[in-house]
């Protein structure tokens, strides 16, 4: 098989090559079109969205607070996510990202976060319904006894309380805590928390009334719905009064029936007929019980207007996180830092690319142009994929993701190296270039697919099991692995097939990187190689221990052909 000259009927490798390249063109144009359509008709852009560590913003990780050995169910977490989302949306923040990751709730807010929104997110917001034991209006000059008590006050009830409204809850120690409690300390952490089964000293949200409350009787998660509306008269007319209407679920209905029966019985013993809705330890509202409510649909009336009734209804409905959360980590990144990290990542990537290019030119001469072109095409496809994914899937490029892309440069270049080395091996066995490219490709493709499979497996496993930044890294690693295989099949190999037809390469120019002479193949004058012999070169190749009595491949070939004149002795 001599080097093919230009013929009118194109040999099949060339036709195949053009077909592959056309497919690649279709893919690139397709991706470009999808993104363009997104920009024109959707909310896509020509750049991938950035994660917080590159853009600047705040990330808050909320961990559920649970007793030892308990875990939060996915349902509870999802509920918490939707409630927090409603809170954030209410404060008008753009593009918040709120989701669950590894048993925690993660909130990501780009840009600056004002303190009020931060509070809103971080408030663990557990709604509890407790009966009122004591209440007092707080005056600004509240006489707080600063004298230390004479003796240690008992903190265990002398008589075991029988129900939530039993005054026996109020031990001398609790009474003292109530007397000295300062409503302005309400915002301090731990100032107003108590276990569900214990009484609680707290104030209302405005700090004007102090309460001593009994144990939790109904939990906020038993509230199915809370709405506000006008109170209707029996004839259907409007009273002009606003009310908040609550709907309990089955558990809540049962519990509330009991409580309302008891509290209605205490009608003449105010404030013990009151029932407090406690959100985050502060009392939202403490209406008194005007009837026994057994249908689970209490109505709170008072001096509401539309806004205040709506606010209370929303708090009752959305404030009820199923579990309490603590802030496990909070991370605020300034936009300046973000852009400097992005810059560092990009510069590192470009320098890395340049180094790779220099090395491949040194190693593969003209073949390096194929490598460089392949890397450029891979870069274009990766970029388009990232922008499309960030538009459709909410993907965000993080620093870890950039690292993933940079690492992928090495992996991608390796598939070319494996391929080129295989082609060279075939040339060493004395095949002409066109045949060497086809045979080398068959073997290289197998290796490339097997090794990329391992890479993809790693990416998928990491993506499924990991959290946070590891996920972003795994995502880009997996994506670039797939793109890499596509490039090698649809670009690198077809390019080599076409180049094999050119004089420069097929004549084995010393700068082509595929010079059979340099590769130790047998050479018989200009651009003419020996036909591959039937003897597989493998059988002929020797090993270290046989070095003394083994021939080089070239010699064996020469012997096989029997042309005694040009025994290619290697020097």
């Amino acid at each position: 098989m001599a080097a093919p000259s230009k013929r009118s009927s194109r040999p099949t490798p060339v036709r195949k090559a053009w077909r592959s390249l056309s497919w690649l063109g279709v893919i690139i144009v397709g991706l470009f079109a999808i993104n363009a359509a997104g920009v024109i008709w959707g909310d896509a852009s020509w750049t991938p969205k950035l994660a917080l560590d590159l853009e600047g913003g705040t990330e808050i990780v909320l961990a559920p607070q649970l007793e030892d050995g308990q875990t939060a169910s996915q349902e509870q977490l999802d509920q918490a996510v939707s409630i927090i989302r409603q809170r954030v949306d209410a404060s008008g923040v753009a593009e918040p990202e709120i989701n669950t990751e590894g048993g925690n709730v993660v909130v990501r807010i780009p840009g600056e976060l004002d303190d009020e929104t931060r509070q809103r997110i971080q408030s663990s917001a557990k709604l509890e319904l407790r009966p009122v034991l004591l209440a007092s209006g707080v005056t600004s000059d509240a006489a707080i006894s600063t004298e230390a008590p004479e003796e240690e006050l008992s903190s265990t009830p002398t008589v075991q309380p029988t129900d939530g409204s039993d005054p026996n809850w109020v031990t001398p120690a609790l009474q003292q805590q109530f007397d000295t409690f300062d409503c302005s300390t309400l915002a301090d952490a731990d100032a107003n928390v108590a276990p569900a089964a214990e009484p609680l000293v707290t104030c209302d949200a405005t700090g004007s009334i102090k309460y001593l409350l009994g144990p939790v009787e109904v939990s906020g998660e038993n509230i199915v719905d809370a709405t506000n509306g006008m109170v209707q008269t029996s004839t259907g007319g409007n009273t002009g009064q606003w009310s908040v209407n609550i709907v309990f679920d089955e558990t809540g209905t049962k519990a509330f029936t009991q409580v309302s029966t008891r509290l209605f019985g205490l009608k003449d013993q105010a404030p013990r007929d009151q029932f407090a809705f406690v959100l985050d330890g502060a009392v939202l509202s403490a209406p008194s019980m005007n009837a026994v409510i057994s249908d689970g649909r209490p109505q709170i009336t008072g001096n509401f207007d539309q806004a205040s009734s709506k606010a209370l209804a929303d708090q009752l409905k959305f404030g009820a996180l199923p579990i309490s959360f603590t802030v496990e980590s909070s991370n605020t990144i300034s936009p300046t830092l973000g852009s400097s990290q992005l810059q560092a990542g990009l510069i590192a990537g470009i320098i890395g690319l340049i180094l790779v290019v220099i090395y491949t030119i040194f190693q593969y001469r003209a073949l390096a142009s194929v490598t460089i072109a392949s890397l450029i095409i891979a870069g274009i496809i990766t970029y388009l994929m990232l922008t499309i994914l960030s538009w459709r899937e909410g993907y965000r490029l993080s620093l870890a993701g950039i690292a993933g892309v940079i690492v992928a440069i090495g992996f991608t270049a390796d598939s070319f190296i494996v391929y080129f080395e295989r082609v060279r091996d075939e040339l060493r066995d004395g095949r002409p270039l066109v045949g060497a490219v086809e045979a080398g490709w068959k073997r290289a493709l197998r290796t490339v697919l097997a090794s990329k499979g391992v890479n993809l497996l790693a990416a998928v496993v990491l993506f499924i099991l990991a959290v946070g930044s590891v996920k972003g890294f795994a995502y880009t690693l997996g994506l670039t692995t797939i793109i890499d295989v596509v490039i090698v099949i649809l670009f690198t190999h077809p390019m080599l097939q076409l180049l094999a037809q050119t004089r420069f390469f097929s004549s084995g120019h010393s700068w082509s990187g595929l010079d059979p002479n340099a590769l130790g193949a047998v050479y018989r004058g200009r651009a003419e190689f020996r036909k591959p012999t039937a003897v597989p070169a493998k059988k002929a190749a020797g090993s270290a221990k046989e070095a003394q009595k083994r021939q080089t491949i070239a010699e064996r070939k020469a012997a096989a052909v029997g042309a005694g004149t040009d025994e290619g002795k290697e020097s």
Partner: protein, 339 residues
């Protein structure tokens, strides 16, 4: 006009020049074990530094500071929280990093404001991180689960692909060695173990196996092609395959290491690019170790696992006998100068 590495590659391909990777395996194992002992011993003696993510605590970074000094930071933190330990470091040209014990979220905000004032920058230039003590434990647990799942799955996939569990076993043993050595060297260098370092180490999983699969594929090809008729023993076939892919191994590790090295040097100088720095150091070590272990550990180990099989032993004996006969014969094959 062949480059030196090309000529080197030719000689390796034909066997004119050959490194005895398989034969010298005792030596390589000894080196590997010594290395593992050393990299485990150093951290045990010197202790391991965990990043703030694993210790829990608060960290503030101030960017674009006109005059980067440490004192204002200490004063600013103490003005808010009087009794906390403060560590301050100057990063790059105009960055200050402050680490404290764990502060309450409210205190964090106060400290951010105090620091912004102390260095005369807007509050938006202050980056604050507050990390609870359980965060690191959570991430570590996830990473370990991922690691175990990956090792089991890839062992299965490789066993199916190569149709022999021995290749799988050899690859996994080399992989575990890679992980220990990479992590050990990383810690010995004195870098903090951070989530970014963990990403780097997990990537090494994929790189190490990737590299091993490429070389094993060639081994599989050679040993299958040789079959019964071969004039080489099994160990020699394996060794030749490793030698024939050696140029590719060198090229690949250089090409993979170059961009990573670029990140390492750029990331070291930039403020807050610790993520890049930690990932790239772990990767750089891992790429070099991973390439080394494929050639010096995985391949010899595979050969060792297979050599005892009766069929392969019989073939090996036959080859050696024939060779001895040929050496005694009067018609020597053409000589090739041994290098």
């Amino acid at each position: 006009m062949a480059s030196r590495l090309t000529t080197f590659g030719n000689d390796l391909y034909t066997g004119k020049r050959s490194f005895n990777f398989v034969g010298g395996r005792r030596k390589w194992y000894a080196i590997a074990i010594a290395l593992i002992v050393v990299v485990i011993a150093i951290p045990l003696v010197r202790g391991v530094n965990f990043s703030i993510e694993f210790r829990g605590g608060s960290q503030f970074q101030i960017a674009n500071v006109a005059d980067a000094q440490t004192e204002p930071a200490i004063d600013a933190v103490h003005s808010v929280v009087s009794d906390t330990e403060v560590k301050v470091a100057i990063v790059g040209e105009s960055g200050v990093r402050v680490q404290t014990d764990q502060l309450e979220p409210a205190q964090s905000l106060e400290v951010s404001k105090a620091l912004a004032e102390a260095y005369d920058v807007p509050v938006s230039e202050v980056t604050s991180t507050f990390i609870g003590p359980s965060w690191g434990a959570d991430v570590t647990r996830q990473a370990i689960v991922g690691l175990i799942a990956f090792v089991l799955l890839s062992a299965l996939v490789m066993a199916l692909y190569f149709r022999t569990w021995k290749m799988s076993l050899a690859a996994i043993i080399a992989l575990i060695g890679d992980l220990i050595v990479t992590l050990g060297i990383y810690v010995s260098v004195g870098f903090e173990i951070s989530p970014a370092a963990m990403i780097g180490v997990l990537t090494i999983l994929s790189y190490s196996l990737y590299d091993t699969v490429v070389v094993f594929d060639k081994i599989r090809e050679n040993t299958a092609a040789d079959g019964e008729e071969s004039r080489r023993t099994f160990a020699e076939s394996v060794n030749l395959a490793v030698n024939q892919t050696l140029v590719r191994s060198i090229n690949t590790s250089v090409v993979a290491a170059l961009p990573v090295a670029a990140i390492l040097f750029i990331g070291a100088g930039a403020l807050g690019a610790d993520t890049l720095r930690d990932i790239s150091l772990a990767l750089l070590i891992g790429i070099l170790v991973g390439t080394w272990s494929t050639v010096f550990i995985a391949a010899p180990l595979y050969s060792q696992l297979r050599e005892r099989e009766p069929k392969i032993r019989r073939h090996g004996d036959k080859v050696l006998k024939e060779r001895a006969r040929a050496a005694g014969s009067t018609a020597p094959a053409p000589e090739v100068a041994a290098v």
